[in-house]
Amino acid sequence: MSLLRLKDDTQPWKGRYYPYDLVKELCIAVGVIALLALLLTVLFSSPDDKPSTIAQWSRQLPQNFVGTAASQLAGTSGTATYGPPYNHNGTGQEAWIIKPQKWLGVSHPIDTERDFVVGPLETVPNDPALTAALAQYKAAPEKQKKEWAEAYAKPFAEIAEAEEAGKKPPATVSVEEATGTVTVTPSGDAGPVPVMMNSLLALAKSGGVDGSLLTSKQFFQTDYTKPLLFMADGGLLEERAKAQHLLGEQWGMMNETGSYPGQPWLWLYALWYQVEPFKSSENADILVMMVMGVLSLAFICIPFIPGINRIPRKIPIYKLIWKEHYRDVTSS
């Protein structure tokens, strides 16, 4: 402890006191803050943009929904390749030899093929074509399943690449505006996947996928991990977030919909994502979290950090704070 003990000879106050009513001060403060909160409430209210649903997504952006669902089946989506805590299909982020994501393992298992596509389709009754397609898919070897799914998913990936590069996308996927049905020209034999995807789109539009992702284990359900991750792999949430200045490069989640202040206390956390080397790093999250962990520890330990704990003595802002006291002392 002696190493941590400061060279500090501050003595207890032996000077004058003035009458002071602690309880009254607290009551007045509560009143003032309550009035301020009421004033801000009356002036600005609070945001409450309705949540998106998978049904809404599949109706508004059917092509994006089917493309995302195909990537879930092919195992190429963000969730499918995430790694822990959802699956073993990725190693997760790491910093040098520090790999906590991998060490903590899979705690919320998600099999995107099973949970996001095959499982919901199995709940559809009285559809012989779908039943036959599902039976064909499930009976096929893993390699065959993968080839079918990839052949179906490839046109979506090619369109996304072309759009990102600013080129004209290939006409391999089309949406019929009147019905919202999606027609895909697979890059090879897609087997039963087109039938499955058309059925999944119809199920999603009816709200069936929203329901099936929430009722996997029990009647009462409060865990939205599966529908949220499915939607986060698609484009609707991102489209809405971009319009509301909530993307990562727009200082991300510290903002809030509308012009509300959001969580400005996260400014330092959000700042690191805007600068190199974090901005372009594949391990940005763990690096930023580690930096914030070190800074948070330093913040707690300020009294014990040489130099930092002397700055207030060197920069005399204290003379402003205690100006009346110093005026009294120097005039005495």
Partner: protein, 238 residues
């Protein structure tokens, strides 16, 4: 009907019970006049001192508005005007809480308020700020609206990357709601209570002694005089 209590048996004085020991230790550390003082050192005379009590006042408004929201359940504020009103009060009191707390922390930093054996006061205050951040975050992801969807799907990556996501899942509404209405508020209130009790125990940190004042006192002392005018600088030193 009346009865007479028998005289207590003459026995040796029992050892102090745990209760007595806790009471005596508590009173010794914080006698009532120290716990609820009716006087304040004269140097406590700046608007900056308002922000500590403003933080506590904001916390009281947060807990009051949050309790009303909790009474009616997490969906109430979406479909009633009264519910939305209390949600707004809750939101703005949180913003005021963080604002007051940040100004309070900066003020205390420039006072080097950890001096004179007050390091635990700083440490509990700093930890309170850091615990308040997830307390607010769990509120944002428990809103059951688009903000909750977006913030939870963004926040999960940072938490997953350091392994926290394995046991603290921001996309699990039920878990986040429990943290927000019970576990983290208990932590914040506990920390604030410890912080305030430590402030009451040690008192508000005295000002730095001015260098020229120290020099004058040293000169006076070397000349054989006690140049310290009692009751002016109070003996406070850096």
């Amino acid at each position: 009907m009346s009865s007479v209590a028998p005289d207590p048996p003459a026995t040796q004085a029992p050892e102090k019970s745990w209760t007595v020991k806790v009471r005596e230790a508590g009173v010794e550390a914080l006698p009532p006049e120290k716990l609820l003082p009716d006087g304040q050192p004269t140097y406590v005379a700046s608007w900056i001192y308002m922000f500590g009590v403003a933080s506590i006042a904001s916390l009281i408004v947060i807990i009051t508005s949050g309790s009303i929201l909790a009474l009616k359940g997490p969906a109430w504020w979406h479909y009633t005007g009264v519910g939305h009103f209390f949600n707004s009060v809750h939101l703005w009191s949180v913003e005021l809480f963080f604002f007051a707390m940040v100004v309070h922390l900066w003020g205390k930093y420039w006072m080097a308020a950890w001096r004179g054996g007050r390091s635990r006061v700083w440490v509990t205050g700093a930890i309170t700020f850091l615990v308040a951040v997830p307390a607010a975050l769990t509120g944002y992801v428990s809103q059951q609206n688009f903000d909750a969807q977006w913030i939870s799907t963004q926040a999960k990556d940072g938490l997953n990357s350091v392994g926290v996501g394995a046991f603290f899942n921001v996309t699990n509404f039920g878990q986040m709601y429990s943290y927000h209405v019970l576990l983290l508020p208990i932590a914040v209130v506990g920390l604030v209570s410890a912080h305030v009790l430590l402030v009451r125990k040690h008192g508000v940190v005295p000002p730095f002694k001015l260098e020229r004042r120290k020099a004058a006192l040293a000169t006076a002392a070397s000349a054989g005089h006690d140049g310290s005018p009692a009751g002016t600088d109070g003996g406070a030193q850096s």
